[in-house]
């Protein structure tokens, strides 16, 4: 069977690890700093970092680095800006989530260690327009990134490679005959 290489090729951007090229030393980044996005509708860097954490907790894939969640948040932020949304939806949403996190666990959202506890906080705001916007936006903002395709084993466009006729369309060999 022809298997798919699911490793992301190392480029300057993936090495630097930030959506906007800010230098980050691999291994020393805290959760709050990792891949911080630069946003147009959110002023606070803490909120920006919280949004990346929210993005990951909504659609957690351990093998997808923070960089791609940050990119997804940047895409959603840009959609809001282009739609002329001045309601501060993302900023207010993270503030609300932090309030809930404080109430339930005595901490800011990003400081809650257990994923299950963070998910509980998210569930409490699941009905809000903020959550709906982020979750629905992520469906394309995260899963339409070509690197995410590679990480999850999807090979993308096929015509320019001559299709799969000679690239393993029927090479499955592990079923007993």
């Amino acid at each position: 069977m022809r298997l798919v290489n699911k490793k992301v090729p190392l480029t300057r951007r993936t090495f630097l690890g930030s959506a906007t090229g800010t230098v980050m030393i691999a291994g020393l980044a805290t959760k709050a700093q990792a891949g911080a996005p630069v946003l147009k509708t959110v002023a606070s860097p803490d909120s920006a970092a919280t949004l990346v954490a929210i993005a990951r907790d909504i659609y957690p894939h351990d093998r997808i680095p923070d960089l791609y969640y940050a990119t997804a948040i940047e895409i959603i932020d840009r959609q809001l800006m282009e739609a002329g949304d001045t309601s501060g939806l993302l900023e207010k949403g993270t503030a609300l989530l932090d309030t809930v996190a404080q109430q339930k666990f005595g901490k800011r959202y990003v400081d809650i260690v257990a994923e299950g506890d963070r998910v509980q906080s998210l569930k409490a705001i699941e009905g809000t327009p903020f959550f709906a916007k982020v979750r629905a936006g992520m469906v394309t903002a995260l899963y339409n990134q070509k690197v995410v395709w590679t990480l999850l084993g999807y090979e993308g466009s096929s015509f320019e490679h001559g299709g799969y006729l000679e690239r393993g369309f029927n090479d499955l060999d592990w079923l007993e005959s």
Partner: protein, 523 residues
């Protein structure tokens, strides 16, 4: 305007829509020397324009004009403005279809007589039957190059099919193969053969899959009798004082309204736009909508019982490699009430790319339960279940007076509730689909609810008696002699099978009928 045929040429047949029904009818009439103006709302995207990218292609080809929805179907909750995934482009939904070309089973033409009366459903026998349709199916299969007919070899099975068929064998199913597909397995009809691109739903970049875009339409145009006008969205149909259709009002590519006179009008805008057009064409003579004296225009909208089963295995499958639909199990399509429901369903392999899987696997779902499934994307196999749903008077297309399109016309509102028979059938199909995959080692099976409907049927149904439907056995409106319906909205009942072959067969037959009537000056 540089139209080929003049707007005031009353001798033309106007066909609304260029898909399986409209494209085929347009060509057939043109071949017989009849002048046809085919008005297509979408652009003319050709093969080089197609893209192997699910969302980019969706933006290019999908009908996204606003619609509203209601009813207990999950589509209304998850995709409230996208009840259907159909095409707005020359070629209609033949651009993005998977190619499955199945004949109705003999009993499915007589659903009421076969199943008996079902509570809360409005079953009706078609005014035609298998014997009448057989020669037209023969012509359609030859025309479309359907594998498994006319000596055309079936396509080879891909990885998704290997898993599916191994499970079918284990469960003791008897009738399964790679399907009757209108996709060239060898070069034929000046089109090349399939290279297993895996992007059938995004327009076939090989031209191997039959689509009116690069078969019927260019052949019709070559006669000199067919003019296709893209970006021409029909707004209303006008009639004369005697109640015969006389002209069609459409918005051209600049949004300017045009009036094209017509001798005959054939409506083939798929099953949401076609009834909407008739309803929006109300007048003093037809206060409830054109051809709607009996009140059935828009009613009995059907979308098939559908659902998907995806299964996760220990080892990679790469189901996305190759044709989107690559095989079928037909055993459950029989009518067998001992299973707890009337009518039957087909089981067909299906693959979605990762972007669409994220959107449709579990709409609204999130968290580890959701992502643990996507983490195994390349270990997934998948199938789509498609079965006969019950016609209900309350499942219908109506006009939404509160929501207007950019031309000021009320948009279509689609109401749909599952019938108990649909639910029982789906539950059975989910169980059987899961069993197939578990028989060959699936670690996890995921049941997926119906997608925005790709099969849209029944909203201008055929009936023997005018009181029971909209059109007669020729697709001719009971009330308006020179108005025809040529798409799936004619369907009296939905049968278990994918509708395209039947739509093409009906169009071939209807063209023969219309041409004969015109030649005898009866139209």
């Amino acid at each position: 305007m540089d139209n080929k045929f003049a707007l005031d040429d009353e001798s033309v047949v106007v066909v609304v829509g260029s898909g399986a029904g409209g494209g085929t009818l347009s060509n057939e009439l043109a071949q017989r020397g009849i002048k046809v103006v085919c008005l297509e709302a979408g652009k003319r995207n050709e093969i080089p324009d197609f893209v192997n990218d699910e969302w980019e292609s969706f933006g290019q080809l999908a009908w996204t004009d606003k619609r509203t929805t209601s009813g207990d179907w999950r589509v209304a909750r998850d995709f409230p403005n996208l009840p259907a995934w159909i095409v707005k482009s020359v070629g209609g939904s033949t651009t993005h279809w998977a190619g499955a070309s199945l004949r109705f089973q003999e009993h499915e033409w007589k659903a009421l007589s076969t199943y008996g009366s079902v509570d809360n459903a409005d079953l009706l026998d078609w005014p035609i039957d298998a014997a009448e349709m057989a020669p037209w199916y023969d012509k359609a299969e030859f025309r479309m190059g359907t594998t498994g007919t006319n000596g055309i070899p079936r396509l080879p099975g891909n990885n998704n099919y290997k898993v599916f068929s191994a499970g079918a064998r284990k469960l003791g199913y008897k009738e399964f193969h790679t399907g009757n597909m209108s996709i060239n397995s060898e070069p034929r009809d000046e089109r090349t053969s399939c290279r297993q691109l895996g992007f059938c739903f995004q327009g076939c970049k090989m031209g191997a899959k039959w689509s009116t875009l690069y078969t019927e339409i260019p052949k019709g145009e070559a006669t000199g009798n067919l003019e296709v006008r893209p970006q021409s969205q029909v707004i209303r149909i006008e009639h004369d004082v005697s109640g015969k259709v006389a002209a069609v009002i459409y918005a051209d590519k600049d949004g300017v309204l045009q009036r094209q006179k017509s001798r005959v009008v054939a409506v083939a805008g798929n099953s949401i736009e076609s009834p909407r057009l008739l309803l929006n064409s109300h007048s003093n003579l037809f206060p409830h909508g054109l051809a709607n004296g009996a009140g059935h225009v828009g009613r009995y909208y059907m979308r098939h019982m559908t659902g998907s089963v995806y299964a996760v295995f220990d080892k990679p499958v790469h189901m996305y490699r190759g044709t989107t639909m690559a095989g079928i199990i037909k055993d459950e399509a029989r009518h067998d009430p001992s299973r707890g429901f009337v009518a039957g369903y087909e089981m067909e392999t299906l693959s979605l790319g990762l972007p669409f899987m994220a959107a449709f696997l579990n709409p609204g779902g999130w968290g580890r339960e959701f992502t643990s499934a996507l983490d195994t994307y390349d270990h997934m196999a998948g199938m789509w279940l498609v079965g006969e749903d019950m016609p209900q008077a309350s499942n219908r297309i109506t006009l939404n007076a509160d929501v207007k399109d950019r031309f000021g016309m009320p948009v279509a509102h689609v109401n749909y509730d599952d019938h108990a028979n649909d639910v029982a059938m789906r539950n059975h199909a989910f169980r059987q689909g899961s069993a197939i995959y578990e028989a060959v080692g699936a670690k996890r099976t995921i049941l997926t609810p119906p997608y925005p409907s790709t099969h849209n049927l029944g909203s201008n149904r055929m009936s023997a008696k005018a009181a029971d439907g909209v059109v007669n056995k020729w697709g001719q409106a009971h009330e308006v002699p020179n108005l025809f319906v040529s798409d799936g909205s004619q369907f009296t009942t939905s049968a278990a099978e994918n509708p395209t072959l039947t739509i093409v067969a009906l169009a071939l037959r209807q063209a023969d009928h219309i041409a004969g009537r015109m030649a005898r000056n009866e139209l």
